[in-house]
Structures are given as structure tokens and as C-alpha cells.
Amino acid sequence: MLRVVGWPTRRSANDEPLLIKSFEDPAAFHHFYRAYVERVVVFFARRALDAETALDLVGETFALALERRRQFRGSTAHEEQGWLFAIARNELAHYWKRGAVERAALQRLGCDPPESTSEDLEWVERVADLPLLRTTVCAALDDLPGDQAYAVAARIVDERAYGELASELDVSEQVVRARVSRGLRALGQSLSDPQLKDLT
């Protein structure tokens, strides 16, 4: 079982959404970012198992949140959080599918993603408890079917390209992606991580 880091409670479920305030007040968007960024970082880091990728996904997620915030129709902080994590889940799905992080919203805003300074990467590793998670994941890999375990280890641990793996295994890239995706999903389920469940 993974160690629970614990979520700092920043906003009450019934608080007025910061997103709505941010329609006219840029400072409210800053508060929105500060209120959720750590949770979004952890959400991505514990799924991608890579701090740098997590930061890139965080960047695109908040850029989309800024760009689309006027589409938010909720009235509570709880709904606001659900809306943000729906964007995050969608970005993660894109990432698994394409093997690369989208930057379209960041580009439209003319904004670079968060810089991956060593301090940032260490912070992500710490708040997401990645070293322990990686150890646990490696142990859980043994329970996966061989093809999925190999694909996950080669892609996630060794960071090999999908194209390279496809050539090596003599299958399409799509098949490799599917094996990685299925493997990670199975890992997520077998790990019974309360934090993962909390956010999905």
C-alpha cells in the first residue's frame, strides 16, 4: 500500500468558484492556480511517473482552464475542481494516446510551460512521492501480462520511443500504446492508491 501524503484542504466545497471571479479579476485566476496547482501536479506525476512530463501537462491544463473558464457553469468550488480535473483527465488521455504533451493552448496564450528547474523536479518528486511509487510500481509490474509489463517498463521506466518499440516488437505503434495504456490502467487498479482514486 502506498503512503498517503494527504491533501491540504484549501477550499470548502461550497465556496464561491474562483473561476467565476476570474472572469473579470486576474488575481482570482492566480488564486485559482495556487489553490489547485499542487493537486494537479500530483495527479499527473503519479500517473505519468515523470516529473517533467507532469509539469508540461500542468502547463497545458491551466492554459486550457484560463482559455475556457467562461464556459464553466458551476456554482461551487467542488464543481470548479471537478471541471479542472476533467480537463486534466482529458489531457492525460491525449498524452497516453499520442505519447506527447499538447501545447496548443499554451501557444495560443503565448505562454511557455512551467520551467523544469531542478528545484521544481525535486519538488514534484517529493509532493507526489514518486520514488516510493516507482518502487511499488516495479513490484506490481510482475503481476502484469508479459507484453504489457515489457511495454510499460520500456516506455515509462526506460523512456524509449513508441516507434522504436514498435519496430523492435514488430507491431504497430498503436499496439504498443495500447499495451502501455492497458498496463498502466491495470497497475493503477492493482495499486489501490487512495490518492489516485481521490482524483479520478
Binding site: 486576474p26 499542487e38 492554459a63 512551467p114 519538488w123
Partner: protein, 222 residues
């Protein structure tokens, strides 16, 4: 809440700045009015110059260029004519100089657009394989005094090229449909955009969707 590391802290500041810019942009009157309000003093200045010079001819549509807030267009040479919105540059499917929009107010204070190609900072056109500078007297498409919303024009420059261009009222993407073909263009300085279509049928209907004050504006051309 823990202290954020420097990269995430800086990113938050950049997002806040982007939010500021977006809110400021939305609070501005639509582009049309902004251009007109700038155009009137320009017209007055031109008239004053004409009177003082005695024989100065006001040539429509030369007008007075209005400098865009941001020319964008990284990688392109800046234009010698400040009315050319370099950031609007769109590639031609056949290669050659990119297409760009020139935005200006005419002597009546109305906003107008021209489309042309940009080579070595010169706004012009390619005729018979030769690039020629576009004279200021070349015709443009101008808004009417009562028009609101985007200024959009469609120009068939050759039998193989159809250009949809203009000034959108916001920076939201403009969607141009021509039959089953669709282009999504992000407006740049002054809301300028160009969509370039190759080999459209002469009778092809064109639909342009843009955003005006948060609502979708649809204009159809046939």
C-alpha cells in the same frame, strides 16, 4: 499550501498576466469601433494637412496606417509599411511569399483591409511570376459606417487561389468553411487573419464563423 518551486511560481505569474491581457482585450470596444475612433483624428489630421499644403490630394484608400498592438510573425521580416499586420501571415499552398493583411482607415475614417503578399518587408502581389509592390491606390474592402462586428472579405486572386481575410472582432479562432474544407485561423494584431484556399470551385459557398462579444457571428459568401 506549500511554497511552490520557482518554475511553477513563474508560470502562475505568466498565466495571471495572460488573464489580465484577456480581460483587458474583452473590455475594449470591438475592433471596429476602436479603429474608427482612431481613424477620425487621423482623418482630421489629413484634412488639416491638405488645407495647409494647399494641393494635397487625399487618396482613398491609402488612408493612415494603424499600428497593430503586436505584429507577431516571428521569423518573418517586418514590413516597411506599418499598416501591414505581419502576424497575419499565411503560407500559400504553392509556396512563395506569404499572404498578409494590410489594415488601415480610409479618408472617411472607416476601417479597410487589403490582402497581399509580403516579400523582403514589401507588401505586394505576384503577377506573371513577378513580385510587384502594391500601390496605395489599390482597392481595399472597407466597412460601412454603420457596420458592427468583423470585417470580412473574400477575394479570388487567381483561378486557383481564394482568400478569406479581414479583421475579426476578437482573438478567438475564426473558422472558415468552403464545402467540406475547413480552416481554423487565429486572428493576430487588430484581429487580422487570412485563410488561403487552393482550387475552390468558382461557385463554392463560403461560411465564416467568428466571435463577437462572446457570441458566434456567421457570415456567408457565395
Amino acid at each position: 499550501m506549500s511554497n511552490l518551486p520557482p518554475g511553477l511560481k513563474d508560470f502562475g505569474a505568466r498565466l495571471t498576466k495572460a488573464a489580465e491581457g484577456e480581460i483587458r482585450e474583452r473590455q475594449r470596444p470591438p475592433t471596429r469601433r476602436r479603429l474608427r475612433s482612431l481613424g477620425l483624428p487621423v482623418t482630421a489630421a489629413l484634412l488639416a494637412a491638405a488645407v495647409s499644403a494647399g494641393a494635397v490630394k487625399l487618396v482613398d484608400p491609402a488612408g493612415e496606417p494603424i499600428k497593430p498592438e503586436s505584429s507577431g510573425g516571428e521569423g518573418l521580416q517586418s514590413a516597411s509599411d506599418p499598416a501591414v499586420v505581419v502576424g497575419s501571415a499565411a503560407e500559400d499552398p504553392g509556396g512563395g511569399p506569404p499572404w498578409v493583411v494590410r489594415a488601415y482607415t480610409n479618408a472617411s475614417g472607416l476601417e479597410c483591409v487589403q490582402v497581399g503578399r509580403l516579400r523582403d518587408g514589401v507588401f505586394g502581389q505576384v503577377q506573371g511570376g513577378q513580385f510587384r509592390a502594391m500601390p496605395n491606390s489599390a482597392p481595399g474592402t472597407c466597412a460601412t459606417a454603420t457596420a458592427r462586428g468583423p470585417l470580412i472579405a473574400v477575394r479570388r486572386v487567381t483561378s486557383r487561389r481564394t482568400l478569406v481575410f479581414g479583421l475579426a472582432a476578437s482573438r478567438e479562432p475564426v473558422i472558415v468553411r468552403a464545402g467540406d474544407r475547413r480552416q481554423r485561423v487565429v486572428p493576430t494584431g487588430l484581429g487580422a487573419f487570412v485563410a488561403v484556399f487552393a482550387n475552390l470551385s468558382p461557385n463554392q459557398k463560403i461560411e465564416v464563423r467568428s466571435t463577437v462579444a462572446g457570441r458566434t457571428d456567421i457570415q456567408r459568401f457565395s
